[in-house]
Each structure stands twice: as structure tokens, then as C-alpha cells.
Symmetry: D2
Subunit: 141 residues, 4 copies
């Protein structure tokens, strides 16, 4: 079964704002780090760029439940929940201990570097992405 990928992160001053909490846009940095490291576990060393292809974020839906603060040790998670020929959907969260801070879904699409139009995800990567889904389904059945 594919595990939910977990990346430990420390909150530094750079991440916070004058409200004394992590700035709302910075959670998008945290969850991208988790996506990147998840894809690195698939054996892709340069996750963001594949020759003539590029993976870009198509949409994000994020709920802010609790705030992380300076010096917190948090966990950013990434779990692939849907895969198409040209895109995949990632369920993501940020946790402090077992408390859910934010909850998000991110759709990533594969586009050509030149024309910026949707492209087929390379087959070796597609298999890795689909592998996660199939196993999750089996595990939950």
C-alpha cells in the first residue's frame, strides 16, 4: 500500500507574518515541498522538469483550520488520489502533532514547455502515479 507521504518541516521567521502566524500563502510552499519529495521517492531526481515537459499547478482548494506559529515542528503530507493521462490530483495537509492545520487538494497538469498545452505524462511516471492509486483502493477494500 502506498503510504501517505509525510515531510517534517520547521517553521522559521521567514514563514511568519505580523499576525504572529504562518502567512497564508506559505502553506502552498510547504505542500509543494511535500509533493516534490513524494515524486522524488518515485525515482525522479528533478521533479519539476522533464526535458520538454513541465508540471504546473492547475488549481488549489485549501482550508485553513488552525495556524502554525514560529518554531513549530509540522508535517506536510501528500497523497495522490486521482490520475489522468495529463494530470493528477493530490490530497494534502499540514499537521502539528495530530492536529490538522490545513487541508488542501491540488491538481497538477503536465504541459509542454514550449506550447504550454496539456501533454501526456511520461509513461514511466504515469505508472508510478497510478501505482499509488491502485494500492490505496486495494488497501481500503
Amino acid at each position: 500500500m502506498m503510504q501517505k507521504f509525510c515531510l517534517p518541516i520547521r517553521v522559521y521567521v521567514e514563514d511568519t507574518d505580523a499576525g504572529g502566524i504562518v502567512y497564508y500563502a506559505n502553506y502552498l510552499k510547504y505542500i509543494e515541498r511535500a509533493r516534490t519529495e513524494l515524486i522524488r521517492t518515485f525515482g525522479f531526481d528533478k521533479p519539476a522538469l522533464f526535458g520538454s515537459l513541465q508540471f504546473v499547478v492547475h488549481s488549489v482548494s485549501i482550508k485553513y483550520l488552525q495556524s502554525a506559529v514560529l518554531d513549530d515542528e509540522i508535517i506536510a503530507t501528500a497523497e495522490i488520489i486521482r490520475v489522468t493521462k495529463t494530470s493528477f490530483m493530490v490530497a494534502q495537509s499540514v499537521l502539528r502533532n495530530n492536529e490538522l492545520l490545513i487541508d488542501a487538494e491540488v491538481k497538477v497538469v503536465c504541459i509542454s514547455h514550449d506550447k504550454k498545452t496539456p501533454c501526456a505524462i511520461p509513461i514511466n511516471m504515469l505508472k508510478k502515479l497510478q501505482g499509488g492509486i491502485v494500492n490505496i483502493k486495494r488497501a481500503s477494500s
Copy 2:
């Protein structure tokens, strides 16, 4: 009639990433600038902080349609579309000329600075927020 609030923004190197485009989290900075300036037009000089109250983002839904690039002149827009006693919803976008780059909805809630629980929006601000809605309805009827 309340106009859709428009804030001109220049894209600088700080905003871009190695993909040659504006980094996806940075659009959340752009649209917050537009929300802040919209609220400033209501006569609130320190939009983020009102004594014991604080306005925090509850949720964001954002679609990335086209990418802004270095040196672009873009417009971030903000339009209040729903108001409750403790929250308001803002429709937002980023445009380059007349091309829609991103499209978003942001829910902002009023919380107490101490207890971090939802609080009634101060009445003078609530009226300003509601004024926008009423006028939009009239304008579109």
C-alpha cells in the same frame, strides 16, 4: 454602484520561479494586496488589525489559467460577493490586459486576537462590506 476593485501590480524577479513564470503561491500575495487596498478604500487605515480583532483567511479556491511572467503589468481584482456577521467572501482575479490569469474565491473570517474564535465584524465595517453587495445587486437588476 460598487466597482470591482482593481490594483495594478508589476511582476518582479522576486515573484518568479525557475519555470520562468510567477510562482503559484505568489498569486495569493497579489490578491491579498487587492483585498487590503479594497478595505482601505472603506476608510480603514490598518486593514489587517482592528484592536482585539483580526481578519484571517478561512479558505481559498484558486484556478490557474495562464501564467504571468517577469516584467508583466498585471491587475489584481477584489469584489465582495457575500457577507455574514463574522465573515465575508471575496471574488478575486489576476488579469493581464483583458486576459484572465487566475480566478479565485477567498473567505475571510473575523476572529478574536486572543481566543482565535469567530467574532462579529465591527458594525461600521460590516455596513461598508454590505454596502458593496447591495449596490452590486441593484446594479445588476
Copy 3:
């Protein structure tokens, strides 16, 4: 005479940190915006990239005297104080009203995009950069 170039900037939540002040790295963003706009006044529309050349920062020396805070209206300045065939030095500051917040010197070098080695600054730009210096000298004599 070449004026000290001045760029008005508003401080937003994105710029601040949990100390309630502008995060120290963000002043480097402010002063780069001023350098960029100064070079744009020379008639260069894409200041950071010139075909096969690239302008990169070689060194920064910065003193933090006072802190900018949320919602401040500040001014970032840029003034070219020395030019060589491959580099130029910019005196920079950030001011709030007439109060000096930071004071910096930034050395920018022209490198080839491919080899990352120092390159001659294109002659049309070199003249513009030198023009500023000459005029300043005249003005102060």
C-alpha cells in the same frame, strides 16, 4: 543631473514577520524593485535579461537602522555610483518619510547566460549607466 531614483512601496502582510516588522530579507526585494525600475527608465523594457547576457548581484552590504511595519508607505531608492566595463555599483536605501530605515550598496555584474563568466555590459546600456555618474559628478562640483 541624474536624480536619485525613488520608488514608492506599500508594506503588505506578506512582507512582515512574527516580530511585527518587515522581514530582513524582504528589503532586498524592495531595493531590487528600485534597481529594476531605474534601469527601465533607461529604456530597457526587460531589465533582468538581455539576450545572451544576465545581470546578477555580486555582493550586498546592508545596514538595518529602523524597521518598516505593516501598512507603511516607504520609498526605495537607487543611485548608480560606480561603473566598470562588466559591473556597476548601486547605492540604495529605504526611507519612511525622511527617516532612513536601511542603507545598502549592491554590486551588479554582467555575465554570459551560458558560461556564467563576466561579460562586457552592452554599450548602449553602459552609456546610460555612465551618464548617471558623470552628471552626478558635475552636479556635486
Copy 4:
């Protein structure tokens, strides 16, 4: 002997710019992470805030020698080289393998949270900071 403190860091998309390299201001984030973790090794859990005191950066001098790029594994270092009653100086660098990318000196001052004037560093922290210096001197003699 006090070791030069070393913090491993991964370069993510958030750190890069359209030039394909790490944005110059972001090295200030990396070296602050190293300073923070160094002070945490002294037993201070909330390095940035000590009740009524605050540590702020007084000045930075930084040289950019080589650029880090996306997905690099780099090391940020911090070494205390001078301590006074109200301030300390940190020699810092960022390395990729054994290659020096940036070299910096950062002066940090202790100020009162209220009055923003220089304050004596708390004695328990001062001893830790001085401990590093003394030992370095011994080691190099």
C-alpha cells in the same frame, strides 16, 4: 571546540527565480535558518523571542560567488566570531558539496521589544555565545 554549525537544506521551486537560480534574497532565509538552529543547540527553544527581548539583524555583508539551482542539496553554516554585551557577529556561508556559493557576515543585536533600544543579552545566553568564541580561539592557538 565549537564546531561550525551546518544545516542541510534542499532547494525548492519557491526559492528559485526566472534566472533559473536561487533568488538572491533567499540566501538570507537560508542563513537565518542556520543561525536559528545554532542558537537552538544552546538550549533555547524559541530562538527569536526571549520575553521582553528580541534579536534583530543589524547588518549583513554578503558575497555571491556561485548560484544554487533547483533541487540542489546545500549546507548553510553559522559560526559565532565576536560577542559583545548587546550583540554578536556570525560568519555564515552556503556550500554545495565543498563549493562555496555565498559568504556572509551578519551582526545581530539584542533590543528591548518595547523601546527598540539595545539591551544586554541575557547572561545564560551570553555565556553560551562566548563559549563558542573562547573555544575557537583555543582551537586555533
